[in-house]
Amino acid sequence: MNKKIGFLAFAVVFVFLFLSAMYMHPFGEPNEKDMDNHFIEKGQNDTGANNIVTSVVFDYRGYDTLGEATVLFTAVTGVAVAFSMAYGKKKEMKEMSKIVRTVTNILYSFIIIFGFYIIMHGHLTPGGGFQGGAVVASAFALLVISYSALKIKGILKKENFSVSECSGLFAFIALAFLGISTAFFYNFLAGGTVFGNIPAGINPGDLNTGGVIPLMNIAVGVEVLSGIGLIILYMFTYGKEAKE
């Protein structure tokens, strides 16, 4: 009985969604694009970044990004709460084979460098703080899994991660606060000497542009890599015992 009602509800929702898909504008031809045209035409001039997506993320809608970084921070805190009690005994997990460890040794520094490259060039090429932070965090995940977590605790400590996460977030919100003499999230560096060049039109890309955007990218990158690193460490150290 209950299941039938559930199925009916599901069918109704599905039909609604399906109808909405049929009523959408044809694929690839948006009806209105006033707001986006403003971003595309004025974006370079307003924010100094070549990558319009980044300029939307960190300038026009920077406040959303603050919220997004906060969501990640909240989730990390939540995971820490959920695993705040250690249950049972911790079982030492075996390290991976020698081949895996060697490959990891070679790979992880490259991945980390690549991640930081993505973070630094976020205002010029695809990428940015979130993507680069995730790439660096995946290098940490590789390290944690191929060596046992308990073994590398010396370097990858939860406390260190937690401190760097908070400092990344703090730097982000502080950068937003620095513009407050005009408005919160005002891009006060654009047009100045530091990261201040304003590009125009199609160009090969110049690192010295983007105003506060590169700095925000770094701050967010630090926050994301340590936040996700923390999640992985927590899940790794507490998520494994209690079997059998």
Binding site: G6, M24, F27, F39, V53, L72, F130, P199, N203
Partner: protein, 113 residues
């Protein structure tokens, strides 16, 4: 029909996700359902922003200036990170539930939804 196909794919993804959330009892399967809904919504946002013949909205060495809309991409970035956060938290709750009950089947207890 064919020009609506990306939207229909979105709806099918979301539908599969909702189905998993409503009728699966395994907690991890439920989380997978949530992930599917989220992927569907992300795909929806990106398809909304696509302009026929447009290029990525990045001026560095761009091949042209007819660009796809940048806002949906920014929104999707936000939504992907939020998705990671919610998935991680829900999975850790699932692990916590398993520690207490040695089961992640929703039906064994009053948990259902």
């Amino acid at each position: 029909m064919i020009q609506h196909f990306p939207f229909i794919a979105v709806v099918i993804l979301i539908g599969l996700g909702i189905y998993a959330c409503m009728f699966k009892r395994n907690l991890i399967k439920i989380v997978i359902g949530v992930s599917l809904i989220e992927s569907g919504v992300n795909l929806f946002l990106i398809t909304l922003g696509y302009v026929k013949g447009g290029v990525a909205p990045i001026y560095t060495n761009a091949p042209g200036t007819n660009m796809v809309l940048p806002t949906p991409q920014a929104l999707t970035l936000t939504s992907i990170v939020i998705g990671l956060a919610t998935t991680a938290l829900m999975l850790s709750f699932a692990v916590l539930i398993y520690k207490h009950y040695s089961s992640i089947d929703a039906k064994t207890r009053r948990l259902k939804g």
